[in-house]
Amino acid sequence: MADTHPTNVPAVQINGMNKFYGHFHALKNIHLTVHRGEKVVVCGPSGSGKSTMIRCINRLEEHNSGQITVLGTELNDDVASIDGIRREVGMVFQHFNLFPHMTVLENCVLAPMLVRKTPRAQAEAAAMRYLEKVRIPEQALKYPGQLSGGQQQRVAIARSLCMEPEILLFDEPTSALDPEMISEVLDVMVHLASEGRTMICVTHEMGFARRVADRVIFMDAGEIVEEADPETFFQSPSSDRTKQFLSQVLGH
């Protein structure tokens, strides 16, 4: 998978991107480059456009102007390039979004078999490997509704990994979980981060950001306000809005 794209192009490059919902200007002139293997954490108050921005990267949302280039391919109305990018970009959602009518294993092998045409035996072997990686191989034949939230989210991560994506997007993966289940998901994400895959995470987990992020991005009101390595970001943020946000998130 790493060989299909030249390694010198960045994983994601966003240039002057704008997004509107009707008259509401949701994303304002976004510039962002994410390099191969980089771990980027995006944080900011709710409604600041973090989720919308990463949902533009696999075109679950359409941007209105500017350019988004993923692994060297520009995102436009070309269906083939959208499909190509979605194959290489995995996404983990806040509400897991597992397919409730399929077992955990079927959830995992569906896309590899349909999209990559992997034979079933091979797809199942790979799925079991990834289920072991997220530490729930014993749940493979259960249905999503029979698992706890934390287990469902780990299945969702394994399902994304089964497509062997170059880039993984996380859209607030722990926000819908009970507190005691957050750490089991974060542990898996920390482990993944050590493997060299490009990761872009929208999250409020500042401990996670401090531990794994190469870069932290702070967004407010549809703009990128601050962009820095975690050390600088947490110790000496430059903008007042960042300081205020951090004091609210870390204050207690």
Binding site: N58, L60, D83, R86, R87, V89, G90, M91, F93, H95, F96, N97, L98, F99, P100, H101, E106, L110, A111, L114, V115, R120, K142, Y143, P144, G145, Q146, L147, S148, G149, Q152, A156, R159, S160, M163, A176
Partner: protein, 387 residues
């Protein structure tokens, strides 16, 4: 004593006893009243009349019928006619409803509008009016001499003619059963977990069952072929009438079209609701995994929508089966019309109505039982669902 009456369990028992007593009084009173009224009119009650021959004929029957046949045989004919009209009506309504529902949930605005107009129009006109409309239309078609050729169909005021197979009735029935089994068994094999192999490893078996069943059906048809005649019998004008082929009476076609179109409007709304019930998150997850729109539809949205539709669909099917009783409005001899004529001719009102109720109960309870089974088999497992 008063304290006992304030006890919750004692109260519950007393209330239920009171309820049973009231029901008993009503039933026994009604029964005695009916018996007195009947004996004063010299009507012999009981089911002896079932063995008597009717002395009248039916205008549509899949089974052999003559005025010499006894009443019980006519009731069988009526149930078969009702089931025949009902089944074809349900299939037609489901096909139309599926298309309308998909049109209404599509992203194409023209299709959405067409679907909405269809539902608004056909859902808001009483069914009996629609039956009369289609009946007037088919009975005002040109005479057989000037009949309209509509592809393989020939439309005339004597009915709609279509090419038929020169095959005996029982063979057609057996072939239909074989073909149905060939379609139903693979569905069961695909989902059941009772067999040793997991469902997804039965691909080859499923295809073999499907092909084998269809071949068997074809073989039965060939075996039952009338010797010395062509396999396909097309309608031809001979003299003043059309000969050959299969004639569908104006009564039957009017009812079938009305039930199909009216039911289609309702089922279209059920299908739309089913698709609306599928979480947006599941569709987005499928997109993000790179599934094509068709794969997302067939693997994710349709299976989930079907689960949401089934209980309401069962309701609608039961409703439509009962709508076949409108046959009496245009003179189609369905179960209800045969019972109505029986009451008129024999005077055995209570018995005939009892048989009518038992017949419809049996049909509709069977539909409900089948749907409950399917529902249970495909129900989503677990209770931690979020959408």
């Amino acid at each position: 004593m008063i304290r006992i009456l304030r006890h919750q369990k004692v109260r519950n028992i007393l209330l239920q006893a009171l309820f049973v007593a009231v029901v008993l009084v009503v039933v026994v009173g009604g029964w005695r009243n009916a018996q007195q009224a009947l004996s004063s009119q010299n009507v012999v009650s009981g089911f002896g009349f079932l063995q008597k021959s009717t002395g009248w004929d039916v205008n549509f029957s899949l089974l052999p019928a003559s005025p010499n046949d006894p009443y019980w045989w006519f009731f069988v004919i009526g149930i078969v006619n009702t089931l025949f009209l009902g089944t074809l009506g349900l299939v037609l309504a489901t096909l139309i409803g599926g298309l309308v529902g998909i049109a209404r949930t599509s992203s194409n605005e023209l299709l959405q509008l067409l679907g909405r107009l269809y539902v608004d129009f056909f859902r808001n006109i009483p069914l009996i009016l629609q039956v009369f409309f289609w009946y007037a239309l088919v009975t005002n078609l040109p005479s057989p001499r000037n009949a309209i050729d509509f592809g393989p169909l020939v439309l005339s005021n004597r009915g709609v003619y279509m090419p038929a197979l020169n095959v005996g009735g029982w063979h057609v029935f057996a072939a239909a059963v074989a073909a149905l089994a060939a379609l139903a068994l693979p569905l069961w094999l695909r989902t059941t977990r009772r067999l040793a192999t997991p469902p997804e490893q039965r691909g080859a078996l499923v295809w073999r069952v499907l092909a084998g069943g269809l071949l068997l059906a074809a073989a039965i048809l060939l075996l039952g072929r009338t010797p010395g005649s062509p396999l396909i019998d097309a309608p031809l004008l001979q003299g003043l009438n059309l000969r050959g082929g299969l004639r569908v009476s104006p009564e039957f076609s009017a009812l079938l079209v009305a039930i199909g179109i009216y039911g289609g409007a309702y089922i279209g709304e059920i299908v739309r609701g089913g698709f609306k019930a599928v979480g947006k998150g599941q569709t987005e997850a499928a997109h993000s995994l790179g599934l094509s729109p068709w794969q997302t539809f067939s693997r994710i949205r349709l299976p989930l929508a079907l689960r949401a539709m089934l209980p309401i669909l069962a309701n609608q099917y039961i409703w439509l089966i009962k709508a076949t009783t409108l046959g009496i409005a245009v003179g189609f001899t369905d179960f209800f019309m045969i019972v109505a004529v029986t009451i008129n001719q024999s005077g055995q009102t209570l018995e005939a109505i009892g048989i009518l109720m038992a017949g419809f109960l049996a049909i509709n309870l069977s539909i409900a039982a089948i749907f409950n089974r399917i529902n249970r088999a495909i129900a989503l497992k677990g209770n931690q669902l979020r959408s």
